[in-house]
């Protein structure tokens, strides 16, 4: 019994080591969204392309979709853009844009020049919906299920690795739920 106790410090040190090692792989700048499992906050904002058309949270329901927060002032969004095109066209997952605190003209130009992966774009000039969602930078991508519930948030660029390991499995899982 006494001898076994002598190993206690070693065990504690090993346990701390495991926890800290696991912590090394975590990126502290990636916060878990506080909105997970909540419905997309209610909003009424114009479409980017058509200022007279008002969009609301109801427009996001129906199918598992990606709600992508982007802006022309965000360099990483440009990096991500070709991949969004691929997701929308090749993988057939609807991508809805949340044009966040942007200039309408510049955003429209961007879509003309780089092509448009979005089903439609919510024009959130003041960042009100962004604030309600808990957006703290761009790009951010939310997976919203068919009932309009936020299921997952990815902070940062979506690339091949992120799509294959994080987004695609979840989209499939939420789609199968009905």
């Amino acid at each position: 019994m006494k001898r076994a106790l002598l190993f206690l410090p070693l065990l504690i040190a090993a346990a701390i080591g495991v926890v800290l090692f696991w912590g090394l792989g975590n990126d502290p700048t990636k916060l878990e969204s506080a909105r997970i499992d909540d419905p997309v906050p209610a909003f009424s904002l114009p479409s980017l392309q058509d200022p007279t058309k008002l969009l609301s949270q109801e427009d996001i329901k129906g199918k598992v979709s990606l709600l992508n927060v982007w802006a022309t002032w965000c360099p990483s969004c440009r990096v991500e853009h070709p991949y969004l095109l691929k997701i929308a066209r090749e993988y057939g997952v609807p991508v809805i844009g949340l044009n966040y605190k942007d200039d309408r003209q510049a955003a429209k130009q961007w879509l003309l020049k780089l092509d448009n992966p979005y089903l439609f774009n919510i024009f959130d000039e003041k960042g009100r919906l962004g604030l309600d969602l808990g957006v703290y930078g761009a790009p951010e991508t939310y997976i919203v299920d068919s009932n309009g519930i936020v299921r997952y948030r990815h902070v940062g660029v979506i690339d091949d690795r992120v799509w294959k390991t994080i987004i695609e499995p979840r989209v499939k899982q939420y789609s199968n739920e009905g």
Binding site: P28, L31, E32, S33, A34, K101, L131, D132, G137
Partner: protein, 156 residues
């Protein structure tokens, strides 16, 4: 030259007066604003509060705090508003609930555990000391023997 220096100084001091440019109805509101922006953590530049940070999101959150204070909301309502959107991360002093109780009680628990270990070790030591003390007690026979030895010494 002098003019340029004055202009430069004025520009540099602008940030120091940033809260002064905001309008409040009362001084109490200004104070409330200052405490709140110092207690809320910027989600983007994580080691700054939203009063210190110049990240766009910190500016937005400051404006939101300002607006809510003018609307007459109290501190708790403002903090709840932020936590609802940005999670416990945005508060330096998270609320006591099921996900944070370990954080709040952990230090006290560890101190208590340490205290118990110290008390137990001290007790055990005392017990072992008294055990050896008991061993010294001699039987009648041994006492006789000891006396004999001692008296033998005296003879010499």
């Amino acid at each position: 030259m002098k003019k340029i220096v004055i202009i430069l100084l004025a520009l540099m001091s602008a940030s120091a007066f940033s809260t002064d440019t905001l309008k409040f109805d009362t001084d109490a509101q200004r104070l409330q604003y200052q405490t709140l922006t110092e207690e809320l953590r910027c989600p983007k530049c994580q080691n700054q509060n939203i009063a210190d940070s110049n990240a766009p999101i910190a500016i937005d959150l400051r404006n939101e705090v300002h607006k809510m204070i003018l609307e007459g909301r109290n501190e708790e309502q403002v903090v709840n508003f932020m936590v609802e959107r940005y999670g416990n991360f945005v508060v330096y002093k998270p609320k006591f609930d099921t996900s944070t109780y370990l954080l709040w009680l952990g230090p006290a628990l560890i101190a208590f555990l340490g205290f118990i270990i110290v008390v137990m070790t001290a007790k055990r030591k005392r017990a072992s000391v008294s055990r050896t003390a008991n061993k010294i007690e001699l039987s009648q026979e041994e006492k006789q023997q000891l006396n004999n030895i001692l008296s033998e010494d005296e003879k010499v």
